[in-house]
Amino acid sequence: MSAKLFNPRLLQTSSRLVTSSTASSASPIISAANATVLRRGLASVATGEAAPRESSKPRIKSFQIYRWNPDTPEKKPEMVKYDLDMNQMGPMVLDALIRIKNEIDPTLTFRRSCREGICGSCAMNIDGINTLACLCRISDLSKPTKIYPLPHTYVVKDLVPDLTQFYKQYRSIKPYLQRKDPPTGKEILQSIAERRKLDGLYECILCACCSTSCPSYWWNSSEYLGPAVLLQSYRWLADSRDQFKEERKQALENEMSLYRCHTIMNCARTCPKGLNPGLAIAQIKKEMAFSS
């Protein structure tokens, strides 16, 4: 069995923001002597289970996590420090959070579901950047990692943001296919080129990372729809099968819903899936300008 030299740089995902732990954590070099089967999936390779470590000295990494309990609302929020041994742990921040909850403090509260970056539950602010905890690698041991809930959101408890307004705004754009023709019972056909227009739009998991990174959304969250909802709104505008294009455009024809975007582009920087809401918003603006 040929053993390959494991190249840590191959682990870099497309998102520039995922902090890489490969530099400092001395990724295991799978030697010919103990060549184990290369397991699929990046996470398992990165933990270094293939090559046993010589030193069992604990590598301590500290996390500072925002804590607040609504049962004692008069007590102000605080940052609590937790120390974990990196030798015993998976590479992602979500692994750390789960370990803290299991072993140190069971009252730590956070949302999580798929652990693979597809559900969008674990969106939070890690070291100043809005990402999914399950996709964010733990950075080097030298500095403590600061974990906050999504910025400028009401907090239900600890790291859980209140996203009801976000969901209400999503509902308001009517995110479903609307047809004027009566249903024929047959599939609504779409060419390959038309389907390609939806790439980069349908992958949105509604994690709210982009909307909560937009300063314009911070200051006007009640009226401005925010990059996530506008991305989805463009997804329905660009869908060739949808026949209510004019009505959808008409709904955005006011000062606040769409035009509070000032191309700050924090949304595209922070999207954990690598989507570009800012570009979609620009395309909506273009359609609005050239049609009416």
Binding site: P73, E74, Y154
Partner: protein
Amino acid sequence: MKRLTGLQREVLSLYRTCLREARKKPEATRQNFIRFARDEFRSHLSIDRKDFDTIEHLLRVGRRKLEVYSGEGLRMLFDSFSGGSGGCRGGE
């Protein structure tokens, strides 16, 4: 009587709204709703008058709870302190 501040007026307005909604509930369980509202407000009496953040948070949470409890189908409220009727959401 000293003049009420804006925040105090909001709290009283929320309390009044809760009582009004309670009066719309069926006769048998009305007391449960009224007692629930009263207990919720009383449990936070100790908060400092100037602690705006906490008060605003509690107002927000209170309004959200009011939205939930004032639904048409919700007819009973289980009161943990009384022996009383079990709570169930009426016909959906």
